[in-house]
């Protein structure tokens, strides 16, 4: 039996205190059983964060296990701080995506900034140098009174942090939808590169090895922050109980990146992990847990930003820019020297033990003494009931209450609609060039990065499709994976692996759990079909305000690889006279489309998706790129084919246009503005058409027009417009609605 004593003046620990900490009666009883006594107040805090949804994945673990995690290219699967794949020539790409939704709603600039900081630490803790970031953003309706403030804060924070640490933000997505009015989503992705032999682990080893603390001092930041906020619904009352907001310090992060990567090279590090949610507690117990060992911490040695923090506060603080390192015994001084070079101080605050216990000492006494396993593997696991809502959510809009607009007007409105218009005002605030790897930055389909000293390269994109997921959480998840993979294949890269952030409402409600389970199934099925294992990810539940959940939003990032990055394909037309060709897996529909949303018409149900045909499309794009058959390729997404054609003309320098033959009845909305099934617009010399047909067979490959020297876009007989005019609509829409930036 363990001994840990309460501190004088500490609150009493009982069932009520446990409930206030978000623990259930059964969970509290389990804690008493594990310890053989009533926990101390400090221990109660520790259990509450480690057993929170955020840290324990207690509602999702069972389902996440069904995802395909293995593949020939997988070097590190889920379980470590981030996953890693082999990308050739001895390089591995390490990547992950994470949510920072609630903190960003409360304090948009710092919330988003610290979200970027957190995901970067997950990457360099693996021994990889972060080389690219992406951001997936969901805001409320564009005219909602808080939206403008939130956009400015979130985008400012992402840029403010990413730009200052020197990691380019190369792609992302932004969506506006009233479903996020009270609960925005900020999902941050980061990718790093490492030599395979330099990969680090967060698995503690070596009884007696010292535990080092590096980085910013500990303050009262975010205590019961991320973990509890992310585990409890949001309402007006919680605004008042706000914990101390975390403030990001990107300069310290930059020092940590350089110092940690240099320290790793010494070989004196046995294990390393960032202090993320539940800070010192989770990092120390997780490292010990993975290694099957114990750890003892001396809290009096933890560097503090202000005096008189209690052990509870020290252990639960979520102060940013802190790392925990298990050093090889006797090599502390070597590590300290590296950190001094970067003006950081490494402090020994404890040691690895062999007794499998997680123990914390403070002012001569033991304040927590818990079996490590109880905090990690033995955390509760739930199989929550899942059931579809009583009524199928298909027709949420009044069917054809409004007459469909005249097609040319619809085109102009779509080009300027908040979910289609240019995202330049957002990505212009991000340094997308630093590190000199960005072959294609934001603005095209997927971002393209080269790997210096090699012919190889990477492509990345993050996507989500909450409208489709709201109609059918299973098909919606599949459609999302298809879109992200298609974006990657459009630039010519082979989709290689997936990371995901699953944003849903309260899992204690069966219909939300059902959305989640169906989403995971869709993700799993498509990942298997594309041979793109899911190597890392994050679950964000409780995205609700006053009982209203966000639309189910699995955010999917796909990373692809190039054997030869010089074969990458741009999304814009490049030569007059080239054939414009539509390649698609099935006819489009208005279901879950921007057109249906904008003009409030009934879009109907989602059609089933044939993953074999989807795979054919991806493989075909990659093969076309490798054989240099295409001069451009652009994915059809929001706004359908008509919008995709316009976007393919928007290249500032060349000033080309296109003439597209009537593809259907003139102005037929399904044909021109439909979405749904996968479609790609490619341009190619006419003589390549046969080869392209052969590659994509049996998919529909249909020449629809020509690239034109005159900068006009002509669509059938119903649309004929100057490209510059269209482009102005496209570029000025968001600045016009959200406040111009120059």
């Amino acid at each position: 039996m363990s001994a840990a004593a309460a501190l004088p003046g500490e609150p009493k620990v009982d069932l009520a205190a446990a409930r206030a900490h978000g623990l259930t009666g059964a969970e509290f009883a389990a804690i008493e059983r594990i310890l053989g006594r009533v926990p101390t107040f400090t221990e109660l805090g520790v259990f509450s964060v480690m057993w929170s949804e955020h840290c324990s994945y207690k509602s999702s673990r069972k389902h996440l296990k069904t995802l395909p995690r293995e593949g020939a290219n997988v070097v590190v699967g889920p379980g470590e701080n981030a996953g890693a794949i082999d990308v050739g020539d001895g390089w591995v790409a390490v990547f992950k995506i994470e949510s920072h939704n609630h903190p960003s709603y409360v304090e948009p600039y710092q919330g988003a900034a610290t979200g970027v900081g957190g995901i970067l630490r997950d990457i360099f803790t693996m021994g990889a140098r972060p080389i690219a970031s992406m951001d997936s953003l969901k805001f409320g309706a564009i005219d909602h009174p808080r939206t403008r403030y939130l956009v400015n804060g979130v985008v400012g924070g992402i840029g403010g942090y990413g730009n200052c640490v020197g990691v380019p933000t190369v792609a992302g997505e932004v969506m506006f939808d009233p479903g996020y009015n009270g609960n925005i989503l900020v999902n941050a992705f980061s990718l790093g590169l490492a030599r395979r032999e330099d990969l680090q682990s967060a698995r503690a080893r070596g009884v007696g090895n010292p535990v080092l603390y590096v980085g910013s001092a500990t303050g009262r930041d975010g205590i019961h922050g991320a973990s509890l906020l992310a585990s409890a619904e949001f309402d007006a009352e919680s605004e008042a109980k706000r914990p101390t907001v975390q403030v990001g310090d990107p300069f310290t992060e930059k020092l940590l990146i350089e110092a940690c990567l240099e320290a790793i090279k010494t070989g004196a590090i046995a294990a390393i992990q960032d202090m993320g949610a539940a800070g010192l507690t989770s990092s120390s117990s997780e490292m010990a847990g993975r290694g099957g060992l114990g750890v003892e911490l001396d809290l009096d040695r933890v560097p503090l930003r202000e005096p008189n923090l209690s052990p509870y506060e020290i252990l639960l603080s979520e102060s940013q820019e802190r790392m925990l390192i298990v050093a090889e015994h006797g090599r502390e001084a070597e590590l300290a020297a590296v950190f001094e070079k970067w003006d950081l101080h490494a402090v020994v605050i404890g040691a690895i033990t062999g007794d499998g216990r997680w123990r914390a000492r403070f002012r001569g006494g033991v304040v927590a003494d818990i079996p490590v396993a109880a905090l990690s593997d033995a955390a509760p696991l739930y199989d929550r009931p899942a059931a579809p809502p009583g009524r199928a959510p298909i027709e949420t809009r009044p069917a054809a209450a409004v007459a469909r607009p005249e097609p040319a007007a619809a085109m102009r409105a779509l080009i300027a609609s908040p979910n289609v218009a240019s995202r330049r005002m957002v990505f212009r605030q991000y340094d997308s060039l630093v590190l000199s790897n960005t072959v294609a930055g934001p603005g095209g389909d997927a971002a393209v990065l080269r790997i210096k000293g090699s012919r190889r390269g990477l492509a990345l994109k993050v996507d989500s499709n909450p409208r489709a997921c709201a109609l059918d959480p299973y098909l919606g998840a599949i459609a999302t994976v298809c879109e992200a993979a298609r974006n990657v294949a459009c630039v010519g890269a082979r989709p290689a692996a997936i990371t995901n952030c699953l944003n849903y409402g309260n899992p204690e409600r069966p219909e939300i759990m059902w959305q989640f389970v169906r989403g995971v199934a869709g993700l799993g099925d498509s990942a298997r079909a594309f041979n793109t294992p899911v190597i890392s990810g994050n679950v964000s539940f409780y995205n609700e305000t006053e009982g209203r959940a966000i639309p189910p939003t699995p955010t999917i990032a796909v990373v692809g690889t190039f054997a030869d990055v010089s074969l990458n394909i741009k999304h814009c037309f490049s030569l007059p006279g080239d054939l414009v060709v539509l390649v698609r897996t099935a006819p489009p529909s208005l279901a879950a489309s921007e057109y249906a949303d904008l003009f409030r018409v009934a879009g109907g149900a989602l059609a089933p998706i044939d993953l074999v045909r989807e795979r054919r499309l991806l493989d075909g794009l990659v093969e076309c790129a490798q054989r240099r058959l295409l001069r451009s390729a652009h994915d059809v997404s929001e706004g359908g084919m008509a919008v995709a054609l316009a976007e393919a003309c928007f290249d500032s320098d060349r000033g080309l246009g296109a003439e597209i033959e009537p593809v259907a009845t003139d102005g037929d909305a399904e044909a021109w503005f439909g979405e749904g099934a996968s479609s790609v617009i490619v341009s190619a010399p006419a003589e390549n058409l046969k080869a392209i047909r052969d590659i994509f067979a049996p998919l529909e490959v249909r020449p629809v027009g020509r690239v034109a020297a005159a900068a006009r876009l002509k669509l059938g007989r119903w649309f004929d417009e100057d490209v510059a005019t269209l482009r102005r609509l496209y570029e000025e829409a968001l600045p016009g609605r959200l406040g111009r930036h120059d």
């Binding site: 304090e107 710092q110 303050g219 009262r220 101390t244 990001g248 300069f251 310290t252």
Partner: protein, 81 residues
């Protein structure tokens, strides 16, 4: 009337600017300096029938725009001139 507004990082909140300045001063040899906090100083002119009304307007402005209540405190002075 003229108003001066002082916005400071709230106690307990990390102040990376203050830390950076403190570090720089130390390395410049100003060792006897500590607890540096960096905030904003805003001056403005305001037309109001009375000082009390000016004060109430400035307070509102601080709350709504000049200070971020999540991380900052503010104080202000209004002088008739």
């Amino acid at each position: 009337m003229r108003a001066k507004v002082f916005v400071t990082p709230r106690k307990g909140i990390l102040d990376p600017q203050g830390r950076a300045v403190e570090g720089a001063l130390k390395s410049l040899g100003f060792g006897a300096i500590g607890n540096v906090r960096v905030g904003r100083f805003i001056t403005l002119e305001i037309d109001a029938p009375s000082r009390a009304e000016a004060e109430s307007a400035v307070r509102q402005i601080c709350e709504r725009l000049l200070a971020n209540p999540n991380i900052e405190d503010f104080r202000f002075e209004v002088d008739a001139e």
